[in-house]
């Protein structure tokens, strides 16, 4: 799965996509295997209630991939126990239809740069979070210089 994410990001140019593994707290072996073979994020669905699986019902299944849009809306799902051309094309078709090129600094994804983005940028810095859209001067550090740059862009 991590190879496929690399394909989508590096070969197809879908930078702002991510595949997240959803494990289960009681399935230590499967979780360890996922971590050993992948650099994808892995979250734990707390057993026995499995709230994430309940939330994704009826789309989750063994080796299912559920695709969600920017606001968490359902876009599609497919079984990927065999991640072949058919499955990859299904996913690429969805991305082609729904992917939007991000605007640098547009942290709330409303397609405009305004005071709301400045507030979110300040919050990112204060909470030490990372977001590639917040690195306006491309120095790989999100700090006050990015705020100044964003303010200048908005004023101009």
């Amino acid at each position: 799965m991590s190879d496929f994410q690399d394909e989508l990001r590096n070969d197809d140019g879908y930078e702002n996509i991510v595949i997240i593994g959803v494990g289960q707290t009681i399935m230590e072996g499967a979780n360890n295997s996922f971590c050993a073979n992948s650099d994808l994020p892995l979250v734990m669905d707390p057993s026995p209630d499995l709230p994430i699986r309940n939330q994704f019902s009826p789309y989750y299944d063994s080796h299912a991939l559920v695709i969600l849009g920017y606001d968490g809306n359902y876009l599609g799902h497919i079984g990927v126990s065999n991640l072949g051309i058919t499955q990859k094309n299904y996913i690429r078709d969805i991305l082609e239809e729904h992917y939007e090129q991000s605007i640098l600094g547009d942290l709330n994804a409303d397609s405009t740069l305004n005071i709301q983005d400045i507030i979110l940028l300040v919050n990112l810095i204060l909470t030490n979070q990372q977001n590639p859209l917040a690195d306006l001067n491309s120095d790989n550090i999100i700090n006050v210089l990015d705020i100044i740059q964003l303010v200048n862009i908005i004023l101009n």
């Binding site: 997240i20 494990g23 979250v43 699986r53 063994s62 695709i67 859209l133």
Partner: protein, 53 residues
């Protein structure tokens, strides 16, 4: 009964998903951060459900 059914249908159609849980994969670039929110806001996210219990 009809109203309950309609409300259920509406909630199903307009359902948006979200969670914010710690990334447990030490080889992931977002290890120990919370995903998918806030780390992957503004992303199209794909949620892979591996082997089920």
């Amino acid at each position: 009964m009809k109203i309950k059914l309609i409300l259920l249908l509406i909630s199903f159609v307009f359902c948006n998903y979200n969670y914010s849980l710690e990334d447990y994969n030490p080889t992931s670039p977002t290890y120990e951060s919370n995903v998918w929110e806030p780390e992957y806001l503004n992303y199209i996210t794909m949620h892979y459900f591996g082997t089920q219990n």
